[in-house]
Homo-oligomer: 212 residues x 2
DNA sequence: CACAAAGTGACAGTGACTGTCACGTTCGAC
DNA sequence: GTCGAACGTGACAGTCACTGTCACTTTGTG
């Protein structure tokens, strides 16, 4: 629906967008997100403030805009799951995808500074939480729809899909925090696996001997 | 630390604050959050825009400011738990408190419109997510500290407390969504219990027969 | 080449929020 | 009771994210 072959216009647009984002991210990391104005960014890129807003709707989008594409990919991954697969299994494959792109090989230092920026800037952190929530809402909608299509419709107030999705995303976010606390060293997948293990541990008697 | 006996100055301050909040919430529900300016509110209350900002740091705080007190109560509840109690049990008592105040008897219609306002206004929803996250962060910090004080310190990158807390809060939020989807009918505690049951169900084979 | 669509700069405007200052009120010491 | 300090407020000016508009240029297309 939106996937045509590039086309020169679209390609320049993407290039400009990428340049703005690159410049902006650098300034944000150097001076801080709030201390950097859109005019600063526009000046460095060499365009008017108005034009920057033609590429990004908000200041936060400059940093987090990439997650719109991620959301689309997540949904694609989800609808590629075999019919009849249970929700948790589908969900985990979606999360595995998210985990994969959260630690692209060879870019760990870039990811680290970006992650730090987002987690340490309240405005960005709030926007990030909103993005994660949007992903969850979209996934939940698909799970409801899938249940309906497979002849086992769920009541509108059935909390199960929401809870499952929220728990998985909660573990994902917790893993990102732990990874950051660790200095973004080592593969994220390992940290995430430990987080998911907490979810899988039988409830009611927490305290499974932790790795030490 | 902040709990002294009222004192006239403090009492008037709280009264004014409550009046601003009451007026603002009415206007927000009537005209929408974004369509209502601080000047509108100031005009109705009969004060200057500047003065409104002396009571509330941001527009969102007018609606969500109450959660600062909730956070304090949550932490009080948590530190009142018996030493040695396992994290999940303590956590559940904290959540029970949150559930309780989320459905105060006799105010369900007020809660319903407030909940709808928050969930349907992106700006407010993001701010609400941020508040919930702040609560989680504070609770996680206490759990880490408690573990240290009890002689079983956790590694800084141990994801367990974060995951447990995130899962519980995820279930809470999911329950609020389900409650809203249901039209805010019936006790919230019931909806919440169903949500928590999903967490407690053994993993790996989701699909426990749902209520029908 | 012509023409419509798309991109841009310049300008003005809104609204959330902040700093500052002068003025009036109030609280506590005496 | 009174007086000075602390506090609350209105008025005003300023910043910054964001939006609408318009005239102008650039560019893809037939």
């Amino acid at each position: 629906m939106a996937e045509k072959e590039p086309g020169l216009r679209e390609r320049t647009r993407r290039a400009v967008k990428a340049e703005i984002a690159a410049v902006a991210k650098r300034l944000f990391v150097e001076r801080g997100f709030e201390a950097t104005t859109i005019d600063d960014i526009a000046a460095v890129v060499g365009m008017s403030q108005r034009s920057v807003f033609r590429y990004f709707a908000t200041k936060e989008e400059i940093v987090l805009g990439g997650y719109d594409a991620v959301l689309a990919d997540l949904l694609a991954e989800l609808s590629a799951r075999p019919a009849g697969e249970d929700d948790l299994a589908s969900l985990r494959s979606v999360l595995a995808f998210l985990v994969k792109i959260s630690d692209p090989p060879g870019h760990r230092d870039v990811i680290a500074s970006a992650l730090r920026l987002v987690f340490e800037t309240p405005l960005l952190y709030a926007a990030y939480l909103e993005k994660l929530q949007k992903m969850q809402d979209a996934i939940v909608a698909v799970l409801f729809e899938r249940a309906r299509a497979e002849g086992r419709p769920r009541a509108v107030d059935d909390p199960e899909p929401r809870v499952l999705v929220a728990a998985e995303f909660g573990a994902f976010l917790a893993a990102q925090h732990s990874w950051l606390a660790l200095g973004v060293k080592g593969p994220f997948a390992g940290v995430h696996a430990r987080a998911v293990a907490v979810l899988d541990a039988p409830r009611g008697q927490a305290e499974v001997a932790g790795p030490k």
